[in-house]
């Protein structure tokens, strides 16, 4: 029972971490390796607004989400757009941006002191003999809301449909009057907001540390690859597979192996089935 509940929580957290990454990749074919750093940045900005400026918690969250959307859009608009289409340069440049932000943060603010965000709700509840605190339950709820909201947005709004069109065929979308660069900027901003939302929901459970940026990046990449790059259903499903696998290994073998599970999942998936569970790329394009 414990495994079931904590596995569920872990899976939803993984899905939250991965959604932004898979969104950006799905729309603009851009592996955004700065994803983890955006995640940590949101936590840090919120902490600053909360503790230095004394803003109320919801206001601080909204402002930091707005700021991170700007950061995401700016990285695309000023840096990444110049190397669009050169896959390797994209990876290296976005990874470098992420490193610059993370290591800059480590040097600038996140050294020595431990920063934490307050949880949304205190207290805990017993579910079938397992004690779960309210915040973790909220994580499940918010995760489900977010996935549902994203689905609605993509399938039932004009902007969302434009994004979907871009994801399916960029040239065809262009002929139908969808500005691909603007959409890519928008998807990057949206991806940053998703990373921010994940941070706001998950960071109160732990400390704001630089390492979590790398952790989130690895997890997001793992989930997206196992699920198939750019496929959202695949990402959610893969989040559940990896999430439960991690909890099971923790229960049986010890917490050291948690990350090993994710990395092994990536390697096994890439070797046996590079497109992932729900990948839409053609086999020929990615392997010989």
């Amino acid at each position: 029972m414990e495994i079931l509940i904590y596995g569920l929580i872990n899976s939803v957290s993984l899905a939250l971490m991965a959604l932004g990454f898979t969104l950006v990749y799905g729309v603009s074919r851009l592996p955004n390796f700065a994803h983890g750093s955006l995640y940590v940045t949101v936590g840090f900005i919120t902490w600053l607004l909360l503790n230095r400026l004394g803003l109320p918690y919801p206001v601080a969250m909204l402002i930091s989400l707005g700021l991170i959307a700007l950061v995401g859009a700016a990285t695309y608009n000023f840096i990444l757009v110049r190397i669009r289409g050169m896959a390797i340069s994209e990876i290296i440049a976005s990874y470098a941006i992420g490193l610059a932000i993370l290591e800059g943060l480590r040097w600038g603010g996140l050294k020595g002191t431990t920063l934490t965000l307050p949880v949304f709700a205190q207290g805990s509840v017993d579910i079938l003999g397992v004690t779960v605190d309210f915040h973790r339950l909220l994580v499940i709820l918010l995760g489900a809301l977010l996935v549902g909201g994203l689905w609605l947005f993509v399938n039932h709004t004009k902007l969302g449909l434009a994004l979907k069109g871009m994801a399916q065929d960029e040239r065809a979308a262009l002929t139908l009057g969808i500005d691909s660069d603007r959409m890519a900027v928008f998807s990057m901003a949206l991806g940053a907001v998703m990373a921010g939302l994940a941070a706001l929901v998950l960071l109160p459970l732990g400390n704001i540390v630089v390492e979590s940026g790398y952790h989130v990046l690895i997890m997001a990449v793992a989930v997206c690859i196992v699920g198939g790059l750019g496929s959202w259903t695949g990402a959610v499903l893969a989040a559940f597979i990896i999430g439960f696998a991690q909890i099971l290994t923790t229960a049986w073998m010890g917490p050291h192996f948690q990350v090993v599970v994710a990395l092994l999942a990536i390697i096994v998936t890439l070797i046996s089935r590079p497109s992932g569970l729900f990948g839409r790329q053609k086999e020929l394009e990615e392997r010989v």
């Binding site: 840096i79 390797i88 470098a96 090993v260």
Partner: protein, 340 residues
Amino acid sequence: MEAVMQSRRKERVDRGIKVRTDGVYAVSSWREITYLVAPRLLLIGGLVFLPLMFSAVPYWQKVLSIICIYSLLAISFDFLAHFVGLVSLGGALYIGIGAYTAALLNTHLGLPPILTIPLATILGGGICTLLLWPCLPLRGVYFAIVSLMFPLLAARVIEALDIFGGTDGILGVAGLPNKWVEMYVLLGAVLIILFGLRRLVNEDVGLVFRGVKDNDQAVKASGINIITFKALGVFIASAMGCLGGAMLSHLYMWAGISQFALDFSIIPIAATVVGGGGTLAGPVLGCLLLVPISELLRDFGTLRIAVYAVILCAFIVFKSEGLMVYGSRKYQQFERWVQI
């Protein structure tokens, strides 16, 4: 609107001396010989005399050894990325495996450094190739991501299973006889590998390598097994990295998890981008510039990684050809404005 717009464009023309020395008449005058040999002698002479110049400051001599180790990695990255078409973001794997192999051979079998270093180079290259073998059919982004994961995985496995000394690493590795040996072995290795690889990529094997990079389907259609050639490329590159790792473990008399760290993956890539990819000499130039900067920034802790990342980003976006390509263009060509 009568005035005709005067438009000009910049034209690049090869210098006469370049055209003459390209052909069979290369050795017709001292001037032409100098033109050909000067850049190469500058590099060789510079590398040979650098340790002597810094003999008063042993600290910077140590830095020079580190520069050489990074250069080996950077050359291997450049070779693999621009000549075989495999972008390996995990150079730390090669360093780590080389370091651990050398340390284990030294402490468990008691072999002296003169045996462990070549053995670790060959064995380590073999181990890396075997590890990466299943990933070789992948290409592009997919290979890059897997290779990025390998060093992380290796460090975690060592930590989790508590093998090879666990988090403490392997202590008591024998040191090298003296600092001159360690510097000149490394410098010699860098120079030999640099010029050797430049030869190699122009041989038949190099041609197949580039074929694999540009159009692997065509190579396959010609009846050549591309996996074998990719494996050969990975073996050459990882053996170079392992040589660096083996030297590193003897240099610090220690092998540990930190040799799988991010620095070894990111600095060679930055050096290659700064120096100019596809030139093989460019990465060495990049390392000569970047590693001292990193040493000067050591007081600022991890900020130096941030500085690197910013330099890397700036170069990849604004000057993606790199210093070496820029330099050799200036050396071989002149520019002039022409009316059109």
